[in-house]
Symmetry: C4
Subunit: 231 residues, 4 copies
Amino acid sequence: MSYRELKREVYEANLELQSKGLVIYTFGNVSQIDRQKGVIAIKPSGVSYEQMQADDMVIVDLDDNVVEGSMRPSSDTKTHTHLYRHFEAIGGVTHTHSTYATAWAQAKLSIPCLGTTHADFVHGEIPCTAEMTQAQIERDYEQETGVQITDCFKQRDPMASPMVIVAGHAPFTWGESAAKSVYHAVLLEEIARMAYLTRTLAPSGSLLSQAILDKHYLRKHGKNAYYGQSS
Amino acid sequence: MSYRELKREVYEANLELQSKGLVIYTFGNVSQIDRQKGVIAIKPSGVSYEQMQADDMVIVDLDDNVVEGSMRPSSDTKTHTHLYRHFEAIGGVTHTHSTYATAWAQAKLSIPCLGTTHADFVHGEIPCTAEMTQAQIERDYEQETGVQITDCFKQRDPMASPMVIVAGHAPFTWGESAAKSVYHAVLLEEIARMAYLTRTLAPSGSLLSQAILDKHYLRKHGKNAYYGQSS
Amino acid sequence: MSYRELKREVYEANLELQSKGLVIYTFGNVSQIDRQKGVIAIKPSGVSYEQMQADDMVIVDLDDNVVEGSMRPSSDTKTHTHLYRHFEAIGGVTHTHSTYATAWAQAKLSIPCLGTTHADFVHGEIPCTAEMTQAQIERDYEQETGVQITDCFKQRDPMASPMVIVAGHAPFTWGESAAKSVYHAVLLEEIARMAYLTRTLAPSGSLLSQAILDKHYLRKHGKNAYYGQSS
Amino acid sequence: MSYRELKREVYEANLELQSKGLVIYTFGNVSQIDRQKGVIAIKPSGVSYEQMQADDMVIVDLDDNVVEGSMRPSSDTKTHTHLYRHFEAIGGVTHTHSTYATAWAQAKLSIPCLGTTHADFVHGEIPCTAEMTQAQIERDYEQETGVQITDCFKQRDPMASPMVIVAGHAPFTWGESAAKSVYHAVLLEEIARMAYLTRTLAPSGSLLSQAILDKHYLRKHGKNAYYGQSS
């Protein structure tokens, strides 16, 4: 894939953030990796969705050096590259401050699996990271945001749980491509909204049973999946 | 009615789900039965509303065999056919994960009748099914979802309460046709939203009196109804 | 004003209910009175906003007799005529099931005056009626709904508090014209939403002080008003 | 800048209030100052956004005298001029009754800093003023609203916290220009909404750590800022 094509796909995925109502002004950013070339394309920092052009996407290598582009890349770039270095199966990353997912992040709570809408897409709770320490903030804030995330996935498959919420901050999602990571950002926001409503309606309600959780996840994912047209 | 006409009506009812804001991506499905031919038309599994064509609807008999169509029917097909076999008066079935109705399902709570908006359309509470057991899940998950629903209607007329919420999952609604089942899905979402707001505002508030509940239901339904233009 | 003009104004006010997002399907109804002729025009019962024509509005006298029109008037007509008979200064009446106002009605709570947005338009709390008794329901449900409302205004000026919520049911609003009653229905929904958010955020928060309440109401109403361009 | 240009900018900023969904009917008002000429342009009182023309904006001096314009200026004008007299760095002021910010005002609570979305734009909590006394209301209500606001900023830099909520009333925001003050009004509403959701989900949750709060504010503001393209 040429840089031009990579930038076009990332540009369109960023615009999708806005058309799905997940971002206002310059909030949010999406990237996609070309594993062969070892580079990502990512949204430039602080540019509005209305003004942005495909060619404004910035090409950055996995050591955070700008390879092509006249603009400064997203201030969250080091979080993205950290995720690409540690999650080898992912092809795209999305960061938003979508309202309900951010409310869970601000409450510093993982999102429990309360229903099949959640279980259809994520195998278990959506983890909330630990809070960052003063030492981490001073070391390298954006890189350490990535560390907080990957620390949650030591015992967890990032492709079976393609989303996380960063304590006090907001969500990150990923997938096989930029477009798939945006799809997961939209699903997370809806799951977070349903979980908010469920918890405020019935604060001590029980979780979805593990049996139904497994059933719903596995009818959509894995070798015996039977949802959809592909098989 | 020809298969072509049946598929057209089901296709339009599915599109209505999206235009009313009840579904995102491939969520949800609507079916309609031709009682004379003993077949239903239903949305194909995992196809987005943007790409779907009328001819993609799948014709299935009441034993869940595909009669016509090149695509796989909705993964929830067995729940639909179970309902058609047990509720003889119904002509259409809708399944969504609409936000507020799903929050009640996730809270595993029936929706109490708190006001006349509810009583205008449903005669009594909107039941929440029991949770499914491990044995049921292993036997036949989608069929057993239907069993959970029909178990709620042993003492209840499904035409006077054309909606249910499945514990941990989401709502199903029905009616004389696919279009009428979608209409009930929209009403359920609004009733669920009002009930959520009422309960979080006044957690220990009282129910609507049985007298007003009966009055409102009966001024719209039954032989002495006087709402609307038909009589 | 001719019947034709009266029906046109009522028709447009009904459409405004839909464009402001206060109603779905056939919910809601608006009327306006011609005091000289002693008749009102009102929405026909159970007709959708898309299909409705100006000429479908029904002309009814204050004894609830249809004077002109081929359709049946709104099932709530007797509540409207009761209000016109008892509130001599009003020219239009609106009934909706708008979401937040209906949640307060279902909670059977008056809306306390918590801020200046409320005080700008209503001088004091927005009353919630008493619940209707079985005897009232059997006597004449729609007429008695009017009685429940006027009973709240024995010590209150209906023009200084142009809105009410009926316990277990939904709001009614009024004003100098049909259009003004719809304006009050929109304001009520916004006031009800803000009050819901305030109460769920701070359940034991204090009311707006009487001094600010009076100040805001009186800077917009009465002989010393100084808001707006007319004076 | 000519009066004509000043009025044009203020007119467009007022329209932006409506297109961002912060106001209904005649709610809200925006002004901008020309420091050299010592005048502001402000929305006229009680005029709807649909009818308003650029030339309807009113030119007022800092002693609240109308300098140019045939309409009466916003009833909140004295609050605006008080802010311009006391906050020397500001160029524009916005007042709305946006829903979530107003709910915090009605709850008479400052908005605590719960996450980085807040810290990106405001350095610390968003203060809620004290309630106004009877004596203040009688003296000069709109002027004293300004006093309540500036009293919150004796120890606080108004440019680092460009927003406030007035107890029992609603928010005011400001910035270098009218457009920037509207931008802050939109951000405040989103911050207020997220904080509402966070507090109702986890009423006793902890604040954002001071270290992250400082980090986020300072990566966007001050001499070492590295967000965006300008530097």
